[in-house]
């Protein structure tokens, strides 16, 4: 069947190929932009608006956004189209996909593009650039970037006799607060002290703990991981103890997607989650809440996360010029500030925080500045060659430990052994 179908289509295929290019003469240069819907609903309207404004300001170019589900779906769609000879010119993909995209020979370094000067590329927060640069070049421009922060329920703090304005400052205090905040009725717990989500991508939140324990998970070249460092197991032990020893954290796997909902419903008093949730929490929390930096262990720390903008090799000279113009347009301080205000993502340049709009926003809603202030303690999100497989090795072992199937140290040793096996050929 496969053969007969292909034979038939082969014959048909020749006809449209011959007639296609004739139609495009004076039309503006079109740039296809694959964009993931990582935050719900109105986000497409915001992006559509940017594209329209850009077309008005630059009549020679037209950006056509194509919305595609999650980051993962967008990556699949983009790479499939590319292998099918139909790559988009731009895409917003996870910052950690950098090695995958370079490995696939899919993307261009921004340094090599016309009009992308060094000062502009240097104008972003350094901790966002950490994930965007390798081998001396910038491969992604930070756009929708986030970091992990702590949200707490001020009402619950008051009820527990804690000062509602001060979040826990360090690991010991975090446990102590969580103990006071946990409400039990017999065997059932009506309110947990805290929640660190562990479904989907537990490595990201775990990286908060490891950074606070002053240990790095990978090197800058992305070909070596340090999962078997005793400090990594120590960080994992702390996370496990929250549920197994102190019983202030739900046992087993905590769902990422429903954690904000648990918070709104007062099932948990403190939660770790992305700054991308800021707008959601602000709109839906039925009680006053606080947003703070993650508590310090040996130091403060959190990974950065979220998406960068990439330009693909398929872009023609004119499209490359258009892509640079469009991204510069998106990251002007005013627009970056408005984007941050509308979505809760961290505005990507210090200049954006100096704009009047952002100053007014921060004055009325100080939580908006917490993520920025935490950036100086932030590190690059775990990203290696063969990123999907390496993070899976870590994720599986983290979940095994959190569900009580493995001890902390052996789990991390197993993760390291698996990562070692995958990465050996990249050294």
């Amino acid at each position: 069947m496969t053969i007969t179908r292909r034979l038939a289509l082969g014959g048909l295929a020749a006809a449209p190929l011959l007639s296609a290019p004739a139609l495009r003469a004076q039309a503006p240069v079109e740039i296809v932009f694959n964009y993931p819907i990582a935050v719900g609903g109105p986000i497409t309207r915001i992006i559509d608006g940017y594209c329209e404004d850009f077309a008005r300001a630059n009549p020679g170019f037209r950006v056509k956004p194509i919305y595609a589900g999650s980051y993962q779906d967008t990556l699949t769609k983009t790479l499939t189209a590319m292998r099918g000879g139909d790559a988009p010119q731009m895409a917003c993909l996870l910052a950690v996909d950098i090695f995958t995209l370079i490995g696939e020979d899919a993307v261009l370094a921004w340094d090599d593009l016309p009009g992308a000067e060094k000062p502009w590329l240097d104008s972003f927060y350094p901790s966002f650039l950490e994930n965007s640069r390798t081998a001396g070049k910038t491969w992604g421009v930070p756009f929708q970037r986030s970091t992990v922060v702590m949200y707490w329920n001020k009402e619950a703090f008051r009820e527990a006799g804690l000062n509602p304005e001060t979040p826990p400052a360090d690991w010991a205090q975090q446990v102590e607060f969580a103990q006071k905040l946990t409400k039990r009725q017999g065997d059932a717990t009506s309110q947990w002290g805290m929640q660190i989500p562990s479904s989907g991508f537990p490595y990201w939140l775990f990286q908060g703990l490891t950074t606070q324990n002053d240990v790095r998970l990978m090197n800058a070249e992305g070909n070596r991981t340090f999962f078997n460092d005793p400090k990594v197991a120590e960080a994992l032990q702390y996370w496990m103890d929250l549920s197994m020893k102190h019983r202030v954290h739900p046992a087993g796997i905590v769902e990422w997607g429903t954690t904000p909902r648990d918070f709104f419903e007062r099932k948990v008093a403190m939660m770790w989650t992305t700054t991308g949730n800021l707008t959601n929490v602000r709109a839906n929390a039925p009680f006053p809440f606080g947003v703070g930096m993650l508590p310090a262990g040996k130091r403060r720390g959190s990974p950065t996360g979220g998406g960068n903008l990439y330009v693909f090799k398929s872009a023609s000279a004119a499209q490359r010029e258009g892509a640079v113009r469009f991204v510069k347009f998106l990251t002007t301080p005013e627009r970056a500030a408005q984007w941050g205000i509308d979505t809760g993502y961290v505005a990507v340049t210090p200049a954006a925080f100096e704009t009047p709009a952002m100053r007014a926003h921060v004055a009325g809603f100080p939580a908006a500045a917490v993520a920025r202030d935490q950036l100086e303690h932030a590190v690059a999100e775990l990203s290696t060659q063969e990123n999907q497989r390496v993070t899976k090795a870590l994720n599986d072992n983290l979940q095994a430990a959190l569900t009580g199937r493995k001890q902390a140290a052996p789990a991390m040793a197993d993760a390291q052994a698996e990562a070692e096996r995958i990465l050996r050929s990249y050294r």
Partner: protein, 275 residues
């Protein structure tokens, strides 16, 4: 029948309880979706018998994406695929079942080989083909790779083979041509197979996600499943009430169809031998 009369009764009771239990397990997610969809968000994970009812989740979901358009696209897609599959599979199956031609065994083997290949493996190759045909981002391109269905050909061939030769001969004596025989004798006798196959095909294409996601780019061509993934907004947490409402909405036509034609479906599955 040497068994005591009490034993079969016990067997029946056990069987009935087991059937009910299984049915409950199967229907539980659906019941939950209904519960979450018709109550305000706060009740999504809390059970209170007299929680206030609301339809606002449906309104919110309907507002959040152009579902009317997605419905139209999906409807056009499944109809197109189904009609094409019926025509192509009937003709191919008839040839394999009744026409003795050189190499028919090998050709049929090749058709069966297609059953062993996951469509996802052909993602890139199919994309290239669609691009060469200039069909990227059209509804036709979503359906085209599935139209010559190996499963359909196989199923219909087996059914056609069971039709007694005498019927065909009688029709020929009455003056029926080959096409006439196919349409007047074989197709009517294979009706249960068509119904059963049609149901699996429609539900497969109604639910297919990866290929439509890859090959379509715009609201005008995307089917419901891809449109629904707009709600998978993991960065901001999940609103179960709205997701449940959207899911119910998108699966409602299939559910309704099944409930209405339940008896026919079950019977035709039994007769067609798909169990």
């Amino acid at each position: 029948m040497t068994q005591a009369p009490a034993l079969p009764r016990l067997g029946t009771i056990l069987e009935t309880t087991a059937a009910w239990l299984l049915a409950l397990v199967w229907v539980a997610p659906l019941l939950y979706a209904v519960w979450a969809a018709i109550h305000p968000t706060g009740y999504a994970t809390r059970f209170e018998l007299f929680a206030p009812l609301t339809l606002s989740n449906f309104a919110a979901a309907w507002e959040a994406a152009p579902f009317a358009r997605y419905f139209l696209n999906t409807f056009a897609l499944v109809t197109m695929v189904l009609v094409a599959q019926f025509v192509l599979c009937t003709l191919a199956a008839f040839a394999f079942a009744r026409a003795a031609f050189w190499g028919s065994g090998i050709l049929f083997g090749l058709v069966l080989v297609q059953l062993m290949i996951m469509p996802d493996i052909l993602l890139v190759e199919n994309y290239r083909t669609m691009r060469a045909l200039g069909l990227v981002d059209t509804i036709l391109s979503i359906g085209l790779p599935y139209m010559a269905s190996a499963f359909g050909i196989f199923l219909l061939r087996q059914t056609f083979k069971q039709v007694p030769k005498e019927l065909e001969e009688a029709a020929r004596v009455e003056g029926c041509g080959t096409l006439g025989i196919l349409l007047r004798v074989y197709v009517p006798l294979a009706k249960p197979t068509y119904l059963a196959y049609g149901l699996t095909s429609v539900s497969y294409h109604w639910n297919n996600f990866l290929w439509p996601l890859v090959i379509t780019n715009s609201v005008e061509t995307r089917p419901l499943t891809v449109g629904l993934s707009v709600f998978a907004s993991t960065d901001q947490g999940i609103d179960w009430a709205i997701i449940s409402a959207a899911t119910l909405m998108t699966s409602a036509p299939l559910l309704l169809g099944f409930l209405l034609f339940q008896r026919q479906f079950v019977q035709s599955f039994m007769r067609a031998g798909i169990k």
